[in-house]
């Protein structure tokens, strides 16, 4: 019994202290005001003052930072632009990833483990390096521009690095394995006899794909889309290395608010809103996963 309590308590307390409590702190600071002090916000809770001090502390908290976020258009523009970039890049990743996953599932059985490993391998390679590798390709003197000028397709180098196009390329590139893997695992389980049946009943190959294959891989598609959309929304590395000043994304705004402006209360308020936006896709994703599990079990 003692052992069981210990087994539960240790990870439980760890997560409470290093996951839940920090959030409570973020929430509290988002309701505080910026101050020229250390730490740079106020009010500070003084527990030695007893109940009166706690009450005094609570009455000083307000939603001023949240009001500020709505009044300054930098923030809501950043949220909207993050949502747009995340949604559009998820769609592009789906269009790029689906044919790859489909081809992998159609490949000969003895080839599949190798193909699977080739998709997973980039995932083990540093994310930062994979994003960085595009800087040398997309810059005005970069490999892509040299190539395009070399074959005579363009005469002036294209400005791709430090634009939103570069951000889309970076996101599709780094998150592609997250899209391929769930779709592949859905397609691999697909029973070939269903397609044969559809064709015997007069469906063309293309119609059979739209009516049979695609609906049966829906679970994988939905999972893949969430796996790309959710982390992209708060992405920091890709917009800051590839996006330049043109790209506004909320993860970058939060970073700058904290490290450059040293405005902790506003940074915390930005984090709270981002989390509120994320709750919807996260809950939908969990539901989809649960439905998949029930369908399988």
């Amino acid at each position: 019994m003692m052992r069981r309590t210990f087994l539960i308590a240790l990870p439980y307390i760890w997560l409470l202290a290093l996951f839940l409590v920090p959030f409570a702190i973020v929430l509290k600071i988002s309701l505080s005001d910026i101050a020229l002090a250390r730490p740079p916000y106020m009010p500070q809770l003084d527990l030695t003052g007893g109940l009166a001090a706690v009450w005094d502390f609570i009455t000083q908290l307000d939603f001023e930072n949240f009001v500020f976020l709505t009044s300054d258009d930098l923030y809501w523009k950043a949220y909207l632009s993050s949502l747009k970039i995340a949604a559009l890049s998820t769609a592009i990743t789906l269009v790029v990833g689906y044919p790859i996953a489909y081809a992998m599932a159609r490949a000969a059985k003895e080839w599949r483990p190798t193909l699977l490993m080739l998709v997973i391998l980039p995932f083990w390679t540093s994310f930062l390096i994979r994003v960085y590798s595009w800087m040398g390709i997309l810059s005005t003197e970069g490999v892509l521009n040299q190539f395009l000028i070399g074959i005579g397709a363009i005469s002036e180098p294209l400005q791709i690095l430090n634009t939103q196009t570069a951000v889309y390329i970076g996101i599709v590139y780094t998150y592609l394995p997250f899209m391929i893997l769930p779709i592949y695992s859905a397609l691999e389980k697909l029973d070939d006899s269903l397609l044969e049946a559809a064709e015997d009943l007069g469906c063309s190959r293309t119609t059979a794909f739209w009516l049979v294959t695609l609906p049966l891989s829906k679970g994988g598609v939905i999972a893949g889309c969430f796996l790309v959309f959710i982390p992209t929304l708060g992405e920091f590395v890709i917009p800051s290395l590839l996006g330049g000043s043109e790209t506004l994304m909320i993860g970058k705004v939060l970073w700058e608010e904290f490290f450059s402006n040293r405005d902790w209360p506003v940074a915390s308020a930005v984090a709270v809103i981002l989390l509120l936006i994320l709750i919807i896709p996260i809950v939908l994703f969990q539901r989809n996963e649960q439905k998949q599990r029930e369908a399988e079990g």
């Binding site: 081809a103 003197e141 592609l176």
Partner: protein, 272 residues
């Protein structure tokens, strides 16, 4: 078996070209003589030499490996415990909150995790350095570990554990002698996953680090912000090389163990 069409062949070729060309180009340019990264001036390994003489990079690499080792080891222990609780723990008060706290960090934006942990460390007056980065990495890695280990725990035959308990083993012995050997591959691969996640992390480390604890990704990030640099190309090539060798070795080893296991099972079936 349906035939493999030209369309499938094209999508595989283009897909893998897209996934691998950027890294191949990076590797090629790391051997470029010129400092101008875009002009090819002949083969040279001088950037590797310069990299190995750069004390700052070497220090950062050492800090990163230390952080990754301690955080992945701690995360593997805590995450395996958490998985055991989730799969075998039965009911206890606060179970929903517990599983919520296991899954939430997996989908949490890194900027939020980093910010919240930093505010905690400042709030309790903990000096930022290697320790705080280890604590931060352990927290998010243990969630990945527990997901990997609990999927293995759910799929294996529980009666083996029950047999050990019936034969008089204590719960701890049953875990040590029966459960652990069975889930060992999952535990090892989750340790590797935690190690890689820690090696790779820029955002959370940037928030939670302090003086004297600059990790390699932080160093790389501040170097490449200003543009492409040949030393970073050399460093990236070394890292890509290590990962490639590691992943290929791991897959060969696991293929061999699977083969051996299949053979052992066949032999057992024959003798029975």
């Amino acid at each position: 078996m349906r035939q493999f069409s030209w369309f499938n062949a094209t999508s595989l070729t283009l897909g893998f070209a897209f996934l691998y060309l950027p890294m191949i180009i990076l590797v090629i340019y790391s051997f470029n003589e010129s400092r101008l990264v875009t002009v090819w001036a002949g083969f040279s390994t001088k950037w590797y030499g310069e990299l190995l003489q750069n004390e700052e990079f070497l220090d950062a690499a050492w800090v990163t490996v230390k952080v990754a080792f301690f955080s992945s080891t701690l995360a593997t222990v805590l995450g395996t415990m958490a998985a055991q609780v989730l799969v075998r723990g039965g009911r206890f008060p606060g179970r929903t909150l517990f599983s919520g706290m296991i899954y939430a960090p997996l989908v949490m934006p890194e900027v939020i995790t980093g910010l919240s942990l930093l505010l905690l460390f400042i709030g309790i007056g903990l000096d930022r350095g290697v320790l705080t980065v280890v604590l931060a990495h352990t927290t998010f890695s243990m969630c990945f570990v527990s997901v990997v280990v609990s999927s293995r725990l759910t799929s294996f035959d529980r009666s083996l554990e029950e047999a050990a308990l019936d034969l008089g083993a204590s719960p701890f012995d049953a875990f040590r002698l029966v459960t652990l050997p069975i889930i060992a591959p999952a535990v090892i691969s989750s340790w590797l996953l935690a190690f890689t996640l820690s090696l790779d992390d820029l955002v959370i480390a940037s928030f939670t680090t302090g003086p004297g604890a600059t990790t390699l990704p932080i160093k790389v990030f501040s170097a490449v912000r200003l543009g492409v640099s040949p030393e970073i190309n050399a460093l990236s090539t070394i890292m890509i090389g290590i990962v490639t060798v590691g992943v290929i070795t791991a897959s060969l080893v696991s293929k061999r163990t699977a083969l051996q296991q299949a053979r052992a099972e066949q032999a057992a079936a024959r003798t029975a």
